[in-house]
């Protein structure tokens, strides 16, 4: 359970960020973890967090979501054990499930990163560099947030900012069962598909490996010193 420091070249007095790979966490539980991390960051009790996890099957609707973008009827969703949640993040509807690496960076964009566009672009950058380490080339498509491989989306982004502290974040398809996306129109975009690392590489990839790479690339792009661990740190585990 040793935490590993991921040090980047210019790591003198860089801000500390704890990256935690949590494996499967329920969606609601994930929300609580975020709330807790935000509070602790605000109060100074804990450093920034990069929460990395997987959710059980769930569709989430962002603030601007059009619920007609969920094609399945409620009964079909229930039989497939898929939850539906409304959230406070931006973006339209998306799907999370096992095999998909979800990341919730809870960081303070002050003083020098108070630019919402820049934050999103930086997230995309970290993800592009991540998949590149696995031999996959990702790109941006102007006007469409996220990371694309050709015409297929491999990573989605949906972020919430309150007083320049970030929450929610990104979802990278590693070994995701992409058939669930058939039940929704992802992000309201009808004519583009989805893909995953395992589909592109022809084999499954261990989630914790990807989690580590994401943390390391996040550290570089955001110029943070990342302390990576496989378990939640005691100080910031969810309080009742």
């Amino acid at each position: 359970m040793q935490a590993q420091r991921m040090v980047t070249p210019a790591s003198q007095t860089q801000r500390l960020c704890e990256a935690r790979w949590l494996a499967i966490v329920g969606y609601d539980d994930g929300l609580h973890l975020q709330e807790s991390a935000i509070e602790h960051l605000r109060s100074g009790e804990a450093p920034e967090q990069l929460l990395l996890l997987e959710h059980p099957h769930v569709f989430t609707l962002g603030r601007g979501a059009d619920s007609s973008n969920i094609l399945a009827d409620p009964l079909q969703l229930q039989t497939n054990s898929v939850e539906v949640h409304e959230t406070g993040r931006g973006g339209d509807v998306t799907y999370h499930g096992p095999g998909q690496l979800v990341g919730y960076p809870i960081i303070n964009l002050k003083p020098d990163r108070c630019d919402v566009h820049r934050y999103v672009r930086d997230l995309e950058e970290a993800l592009i560099r991540t998949i590149s380490e696995f031999g996959v080339t990702g790109t941006r498509i102007k006007g469409l947030t996220g990371v694309w491989v050709g015409n297929d989306k491999i990573a989605a982004i949906g972020v919430r900012i309150a007083r320049w502290i970030t929450s929610h974040g990104f979802a990278l398809n590693v070994n995701t069962d992409l058939s669930y996306f058939n039940m929704i129109v992802p992000c309201g975009i009808t004519d583009k598909g989805v893909t995953s690392l395992s589909r592109l590489l022809g084999s499954q990839i261990p989630m914790s490996d990807v989690a580590r790479v994401v943390s390391s690339q996040f550290a570089q792009v955001f110029e943070r010193e990342i302390l990576f661990s496989d378990f939640p740190s005691p100080a910031t585990s969810v309080q009742a």
Partner: protein
């Protein structure tokens, strides 16, 4: 002085923003930095805080509209928030002595974000609440003791020596000397009159030293006095030295009874305690769903009725848990009368819900409420504290994880319920957060073996985790 709220610029290259949601309505008061509205731009939803405190007087841009950066979207009248708003947030005056986890929720009105200016009244009131009134000793006692001390310490060494030799407690003697001192004369005449005077000695202090016969309390007539009870009440050697600072107070009848019973129970039963971790999440959900409905009937719904239902299932499967030992016989009780331990300011009492297995969930909740209420107001009838066949107690009431309760004779088991709170657990190799409580079963190993106790607990766990209670 009014202040304009503008569409903020969320990034260098961002020229406009869309109002997604107003978090306050016109007329609402707002504090500085309290979230006022949400905007969205390019997959980012941002919560925008209010630049000042005041009352939201005008919303200029509606939800769904997109405007350029720096457009005025709302107006706030300047000035501090009205004092009345703050007062509404202050918690209600502490009423009953039943403190502890009492509501810390009155802050509902304030914003979810950490408050910058909490109402000043709150901290004081909360500290008042946090200290439950301990049982106060009789004011009369305090005075008596300090005079006693006076007598003890101010009597001359000679007098004290005489007292020691004669086995006399100086505090029993009326001192005629200065400041109530016991003089040589006083003690001499006391000794002479001792034979006649012993019956008139002031209200007995429990622990006496090398004195004559220890006062034997009248044993309650109901049962043949057990040897252990006499043992319990035997004064024994003085547990303090002359000159130690002590305050001696006689036990109330209730306290004496509890003391006797506890020691006796330990002597009678072969006490063992087993523990079981239980996931209350599903039951908690069910309870949350029913709460409002029950409250409309004036019934407060706690976890206890659900636990009682589980206990009933457990007893049906493991009837030995609902029995008594009688010499070399086991008496299986057909009725399930569940006692619920209630902590009182002045002690402890166990009112009994008779025929608990014949009650519905609502009925149990009602009974729990009613008995608890009447226990606290001393309105229980004698038959309501008798005839129990199984007892439930609550070591978790102040947040305790668990406890090792003492069996309530002549029963053979007692269930202690620890605090039920959210804890991290592992489910399918993943970390989840569930409402967990620890159940502790103290049982009499003369008739209940460990395996049976564990299976009984497992049944309780299964019932609570399945949360499919018969109504």
């Amino acid at each position: 002085m009014s202040e304009e709220v503008k569409m903020p610029q969320m990034g260098e290259s961002i020229a406009e923003g869309t109002i997604v949601k107003w978090l306050k309505q016109v007329g609402d008061s707002i504090k500085r930095d309290e979230p006022l509205f949400e905007i969205s731009t390019d997959k980012v939803d941002a919560e925008i805080p209010s630049p000042t405190a005041g009352v939201l007087s005008e919303i200029k841009v509606k939800e769904g509209e997109t405007v350029p950066v720096n457009t005025v979207v709302a107006v706030i009248n300047g000035g501090a928030a009205k004092p009345t708003e703050e007062a509404k947030e202050a918690p209600p005056k502490p009423e009953t002595a039943k403190a502890g986890p009492a509501s810390e929720e009155p802050k509902k009105a304030a914003a979810p974000a950490p408050k910058q200016e909490p109402p000043k009244e709150e901290p004081k009131k909360e500290t008042k609440k946090a200290e439950p009134a301990p049982a106060q000793p009789d004011p009369g006692q305090v005075d008596a003791t300090s005079t006693d001390e006076l007598r003890r310490t101010r009597s001359s060494p000679l007098v004290r020596k005489i007292a020691e030799e004669e086995g006399v407690d100086i505090s029993q003697i009326e001192g005629t000397g200065i400041g109530g001192r016991v003089t040589k004369q006083d003690i001499r005449s006391f000794i002479e009159n001792r034979g006649a005077a012993s019956k008139e000695s002031p209200p007995a202090k429990a622990a006496e030293a090398a004195a004559t016969a220890a006062p034997a309390p009248a044993a309650p007539p109901q049962r043949a006095p057990q040897p252990s009870r006499a043992q319990a009440m035997e004064a024994g050697p003085q547990p303090f030295a002359e000159g130690d600072r002590v305050e001696i107070e006689p036990m109330s009848i209730m306290r004496r009874r509890i003391a006797e019973r506890m020691v006796e129970s330990r002597h009678i039963s072969a006490h063992v305690t087993s523990f079981m971790e239980v996931d209350f999440s599903k039951t908690a959900k069910l309870r949350a769903g029913l709460k409002a409905e029950y409250e409309r009937d004036g019934v407060k719904l706690t976890f206890l009725p659900f636990i009682i239902k589980a206990v009933i299932e457990g007893i049906k499967k493991w009837p030995i848990v609902n029995s008594s030992v009688w010499g070399d016989q086991i008496v299986y009780k057909k009725d399930i009368n569940v006692g619920v331990a209630v902590a009182l300011d002045w002690g402890l009492i166990v009112p009994v819900i008779r025929g608990a297995d014949e009650k519905s969930l609502l009925g149990l909740a009602r009974a729990v409420n009613d008995l608890g209420e009447r226990a606290r107001t001393k309105q229980l009838k004698p038959d309501e504290v008798q005839g129990g066949t199984f007892t439930i107690t609550n070591p978790g009431i102040f947040g305790g994880w668990s406890g090792t309760p003492i069996i309530n004779q002549p029963q053979v088991a007692i269930l202690g319920v620890g605090a039920i709170k959210k804890r991290p657990v592992v489910i399918d190799d993943a970390i989840a957060i569930r409402q967990i409580g620890v159940l502790a079963l103290s049982f009499d190993h003369r008739v209940i073996d460990g395996a049976v106790a564990d299976q009984f607990l497992a049944t309780l766990r299964d019932v609570i985790e399945a949360a499919e209670y018969t109504s």
